[in-house]
Structures are given as structure tokens and as C-alpha cells.
């Protein structure tokens, strides 16, 4: 599980071009949107594509992302339970 969380932090930084943020800056429970990492709506769409591409999870309703992308911890729990690859 901690490997998955580490992997997610690395992917978030790389795919969302968070140039000035390192893995150590993201705590497992930090909010990804709003006051946390300050991600925006395009970032949310990128994360939805990442779930599909890397973990075989296709969200039928983009609004589901709001709950799933709450933090790295919540994302990791969701991926662990639903991943198909």
C-alpha cells in the first residue's frame, strides 16, 4: 500500500507538472484540490485518464472523482479495491 501511495505521488507530480513540489511535500491525507495542492478542473480530468490508463479503472461519472481524489490515501484505497491492471 505504501508503495502505491509513493507511486501515486510520483505520478501526480509528473503528469500534472507540479514543478516546484516533491514527493516529500505531499502527505497521505493532504487535500489535492482547494487549499491543498491547488489542483484545478483540468488536473481532475488528467487524474481520471490516469486511473483508466494505468489502473484500468474507468469512471462512468466524472463527479465520482470529487470523492476519489480527496487525498492520496483515498485514491490508493480506491485503486486497491477496483484496479483491473
Amino acid at each position: 500500500m505504501s508503495d502505491l501511495k509513493q507511486e501515486l505521488k510520483e505520478k501526480i507530480i509528473e503528469q500534472l507538472n507540479l514543478e516546484e513540489i516533491s514527493v516529500a511535500d505531499i502527505a497521505d491525507d493532504d487535500a489535492l484540490f482547494g487549499d491543498g495542492l491547488g489542483l484545478d478542473s483540468i488536473d481532475a480530468l488528467e487524474l481520471i485518464v490516469m486511473l483508466d490508463k494505468d489502473y484500468g479503472i474507468r469512471l462512468s461519472d466524472p463527479k465520482e472523482g470529487r470523492k476519489i481524489f480527496e487525498s492520496v490515501q483515498v485514491m490508493a484505497d480506491y485503486i486497491q479495491e477496483h484496479r483491473t491492471k
Binding site: E19, E20, I42, V49
Partner: protein, 207 residues
């Protein structure tokens, strides 16, 4: 409104060939031949401090940094600024269009990136500049075969004479696999250089 009023070019900059010049004077040089490395080094040198810069595509990074160099010398209002943008280039958004095309070519691996797709129009760079500097005024992006001083001159004069803007930031921002080039100049009531086609072409070919 005065049809005979003459406007001036207050400042201009070039960002090309791994160097940045402002008003013909060298400001930054870098040995990096790769555009991404060069533009990142220029961003750091200019102490730009705008994290969203790293999410932009290459054309927007080029246009944003060139505009930022000139606009941050203007003591802009924090709420709103009446500065129009008239940009142009040859390659449109082709660099990003190609990246998007590559992402949708293979039906088995069909994962287009939303962050890439949103930059598949050249005028998106005008939005990035407008957001940073709070510009709510007119903006246009034209595609030409070559730098077209006549068109930029005519359009800028029209906006200023009709009081559609207090200042106009004009120029050429082109980027494709063969290279990159930004040339921007600010037109307003004051400045050392007369705003006419001959002078625009002269400063375009400097450096």
C-alpha cells in the same frame, strides 16, 4: 478620438536563439539548445514565480514569458488593465496539435490528455497572459506566412484611436519543431520609437 494621432513604441523584446533581449539589450543568454531547458532557465532567471507556467504548452510558455518581461515593467493595476493583445505566428498551435494527434492515433491506446488538448488553439496563450496580468481587453491571434508589420500596425492603431484599449501589446510568437521565436512590442502614447511600419520592421530584425 483623433485619426491623426501618432502612437509610440515604448518597449520591445526578443526571445529566440537561447537569448532574451529587451529594447535591443541582452538580458539573458543560455547555452541550452533544448527549448524546455532554455525556457525553464529563463523563467528562473526572471524570478517569475508563477507555478501554472509549468502546466502550459511550449507556445504559451514562450508567449507568457515574453509578455511578462514587458508587462511587469508597467506597474500594472492589480484589479484590471486595459491593454489589448494582438499576436501572430506561422505555425499556429501545431506543436501541441501533433502531441494530441499522437495520443489519439492508436485505438488500442486511446488516452488523449485533457491538459494537452486545451492548448490546441494558438490564442490560448493570450488567455494565460490575460489571467496573469488581469487584462479584460480585446485580444486576437492571427496566422500569417511571415511577420506582418502592416497588419499589426493597422490593428493596433485602430484599437487605440477608437479607445478600445490604452495600450496594445503586439507581436509574433512562433514555435514548431524547427525552432522558436518571440518578438513583442508595446504601443501606447509615450515612447522613444515612432509607431510606424518601418520602425516595427526595424526593431523586429534587431538582434
Amino acid at each position: 478620438m483623433s485619426l491623426n494621432q501618432n502612437y509610440r513604441i515604448k518597449s520591445f523584446c526578443h526571445l529566440k536563439n537561447q537569448s532574451l533581449t529587451v529594447n535591443g539589450q541582452s538580458v539573458f543568454d543560455d547555452a541550452s539548445e533544448d527549448f524546455q531547458t532554455f525556457i525553464k532557465n529563463a523563467y528562473k532567471f526572471l524570478k517569475t514565480d508563477y507555478p501554472k507556467f509549468f502546466k502550459m504548452d511550449s507556445l504559451s510558455k514562450l508567449a507568457f514569458l515574453a509578455a511578462d518581461v514587458l508587462l511587469k515593467r508597467e506597474n500594472l493595476n492589480e484589479e484590471e488593465n486595459n491593454i489589448a493583445l494582438i499576436f501572430s505566428n506561422r505555425a499556429s498551435s501545431l506543436d501541441t496539435d501533433r502531441k494530441h494527434q499522437a495520443a489519439i492515433e492508436n485505438e488500442e491506446e486511446y488516452f488523449p490528455s485533457p491538459a494537452v488538448f486545451v492548448y490546441t488553439l494558438p490564442n490560448i496563450c493570450l488567455g494565460e497572459i490575460s489571467i496573469k496580468h488581469r487584462l479584460y481587453s480585446e485580444n486576437s491571434f492571427f496566422i500569417f506566412d511571415h511577420f506582418n508589420a502592416e497588419h499589426l500596425h493597422l490593428y493596433a492603431n485602430s484599437l487605440l484611436r477608437n479607445e478600445k484599449a490604452e495600450k496594445v501589446l503586439c507581436g509574433w510568437v512562433d514555435l514548431d519543431e524547427n525552432g522558436y521565436e518571440a518578438f513583442l512590442y508595446l504601443v501606447e502614447n509615450e515612447g522613444e520609437i515612432e509607431h510606424n511600419i518601418k520602425q516595427i520592421n526595424r526593431i523586429y530584425t534587431l538582434s
